[in-house]
């Protein structure tokens, strides 16, 4: 049962087609992220759902009702903006109460609902403050409470974390997710940050050039990208050139070694075809014991990121990135040292050369 439904929605500004025949079904209570580079159309789709832009063609349904031609103020949406957009002339209480006042709620009703929302975002003690007296993170929490107060049908988040510092970004991200689950509210979240999208979502829609390239769970998007764009845009990818030896046996040649993959990975290719074996950095391990494919390697760079150490090694004629966990008792390998790296042939994604 889809609660929010976009059917073949397109949007053109003049001759510039920004969104091309976009389809999406979102279940009640689901959290869906739109992820993509700037200009990919993700914000335009959100603005069409909110009613700030009108689709050139296609239809939008919320809760079974066609809202395609409904103005924004009749759609019962809650929206959170990148710039917070709190009303500067109103206190925190006034901001959160605004939607309820518009809806004609009674005074005691408003007071109790606002208190409930402020407690939810843990800012009950700041009800009398004005927006300019709050930090960015606090303002965005209030904006979230304001959007949720009037019990909207859909919550729309337009890069709500982009203006915040790294630490606050992470903590507010977790809070948004917790609140969304608690209220079971259908949510669309627009972001250009892949970590945000992967962490927070039930499903991620990866967009590019106005088209939805893939729409799936974070784990699938990351581990089984269906298009080359998704594979390159989400996460880091090592590309090892290889040549198909025997497609039926699943054997390919990497440098001078012959490696056996699952036959279905090279299905449909001919012997001698050049291909690319794509591997995530965490799928490659130091040493010889972690997989069935072992390569000789030379350490080129060591990036100490904190909990993770990212190594750049030369192997199979290319430069590979691999991630290992920091160990307090073992400093990272030295630049220039030689070692072996290994990976499991199951972890390989085969792409065209």
């Amino acid at each position: 049962m889809s609660f929010l439904k976009l059917s073949a929605v397109s949007k053109a500004f003049g001759a510039n087609v920004v969104v091309k025949s976009f389809d999406l079904s979102v279940r009640k209570g689901e959290f869906v992220s739109f992820l993509g580079p700037s200009g990919c159309g993700k914000t335009t789709v959100l603005r069409m759902v909110s009613g700030f832009e009108r689709p050139t063609s296609g239809a939008i349904e919320i809760g079974g009702r066609d809202v395609t031609h409904l103005p924004a103020n009749q759609r019962q949406i809650g929206m959170v903006f990148q710039s917070y957009a709190l009303f500067p002339n109103m206190s925190v209480f006034g901001n959160v109460a605004f939607g309820l006042k518009i809806a004609g709620a009674s005074k005691p009703e408003i007071a109790s609902r606002v208190k409930e929302m402020l407690d939810l975002i843990q800012l009950g003690h700041l009800a009398d403050r004005y927006p300019y007296q709050l930090s960015g993170g606090q303002q965005q929490r209030v904006a979230l409470a304001r959007a949720l107060a009037a019990r909207p049908q859909v919550l729309l988040l337009d890069e709500p974390l982009s203006a915040l510092d790294a630490k606050i970004r992470v903590s507010l991200r977790d809070d948004i997710r917790a609140i969304q689950r608690e209220l079971n509210i259908t949510t669309i979240f627009v972001t250009h940050d892949q970590e945000e999208a992967l962490t927070i979502s039930d499903r991620v829609v990866v967009m590019n050039g106005g088209i939805a390239e893939q729409c799936d769970t974070p784990h699938e998007i990351y581990n089984r990208p269906t298009t080359r764009f998704v594979a390159g845009f989400v996460g880091k990818l090592n590309n090892i050139p290889a040549i198909v030896v025997d497609p039926d046996a699943g054997t390919v040649r990497v440098e001078s070694d012959v490696v056996t993959l699952e036959p279905r990975a090279v299905a449909g290719r001919k012997a001698g075809d050049p291909i690319v074996l794509a591997l995530r950095p965490e799928a490659v391990s130091m040493g010889t014991r972690s997989g069935d494919v072992v390569l000789e390697a030379k350490v080129q760079e060591v990036y100490f990121l904190g909990s993770v150490i990212r190594l750049k090694v030369a192997a199979a004629g290319v430069s590979l990135s691999l991630d290992i966990f920091n160990r307090a008792d073992a400093p990272p390998p030295d630049v220039g040292s030689t070692t072996h790296v290994s990976f499991s042939s199951h972890a390989v994604i085969v792409l065209d050369s």
Partner: protein, 275 residues
């Protein structure tokens, strides 16, 4: 690097202050000397006892207030609409709003007289009401750059587009958005524009004189040519009045809900400490 004491800039600030304060002080001193050999407020008494003073002041005050109302009613919705729906036109509208600043008022008046003179289709200059209307229109035009700038700056500081969208997403109609979200946030800008309009219109000379209106500006100039001590008293009072207007304007322009009176100074200080 050490910060040498800024001699040059201090000198300039002191000179600028002197340039305002010394003439003002001289004028003030002179205004007290109407009675030979003693300090007195006689010049001020003389001014206040004049019927012409009171009537011209009242006339100009009413005309200025009318100009404020008309100006704000024209400028605020235009600036809002241009920012919201026609952002491409903003440079054009800004340009138009600056025109009155550089077209000498004389030209404006010639145009008006030609347009609305006794031989035109709409002979406004032949009646008192019509001429008053032209004067107020002229004041609206003269104050347009200041009013537009003030209101537009006010709107620039609050991201009108997103606030409008936020209010709409919460179910507010356009009218309610304007009344409860937009206007309260630019009210201080409109007020500061109003004070500027008031100070400009109150002492204005050329327009009032060419339209032959019984306004305060021509009265000031007339007195300046005929008397000795009264003009000094008038100058001091006008200065005090405009200073008060300016102070009120600064106060309203920078005030936020629940904030102190001199927030910008406080802000600058705390910003410096934070480094």
């Amino acid at each position: 690097m050490k910060k040498p004491f800024p001699w040059l800039s201090t000198l300039i600030v002191v000179l600028a202050a002197l340039y305002f304060l010394v003439p003002l002080y001289a004028t003030f001193q002179f205004s007290l000397q109407m009675k030979r050999g003693e300090w007195s407020l006689a010049a001020y008494e003389s001014v206040f006892s004049s019927d012409v003073f009171l009537s011209t002041l009242a006339y100009s005050a009413v005309a200025s207030l009318a100009a404020i109302v008309v100006g704000a009613a024209l400028v605020a919705p235009t600036a809002y609409w241009v920012r919201l729906r026609l952002p491409k036109l903003r440079p054009v509208v800004e340009f138009v709003s600056l025109l009155p600043l550089i077209i000498p008022p004389v030209v404006l008046v010639f145009g008006h007289i030609r347009m609305f003179g006794s031989s035109s289709i709409l002979p406004l200059t032949t009646t008192d009401g019509g001429t008053n209307f032209l004067l107020v229109s002229g004041y609206v035009v003269l104050s347009l750059p200041y009013m537009y700038r003030a209101v537009d700056n006010g709107m620039a500081s609050i991201d009108i587009v997103t606030l409008t969208e936020a209010a709409e997403s919460l179910g507010a109609s356009r009218a309610r958005t304007i009344m409860e979200v937009i206007l309260p946030n630019v009210r201080s800008s409109i007020i500061s524009g109003a004070f500027l309009t008031f100070s400009i219109s109150l002492g204005e000379f050329v327009l009032a004189s060419l339209l032959n209106r019984p306004a305060f500006g021509p009265y000031l100039v007339q007195i300046g040519q005929d008397r000795a001590y009264e003009p000094a008293a008038l100058a001091v009072m006008t200065f005090a009045l405009t200073w008060a207007c300016m102070g009120l304007m600064q106060y309203f322009a920078t005030r936020k809900p629940g904030q102190r009176v001199f927030p910008r100074l406080t802000l600058a200080l705390s910003r410096n400490e934070a480094r």
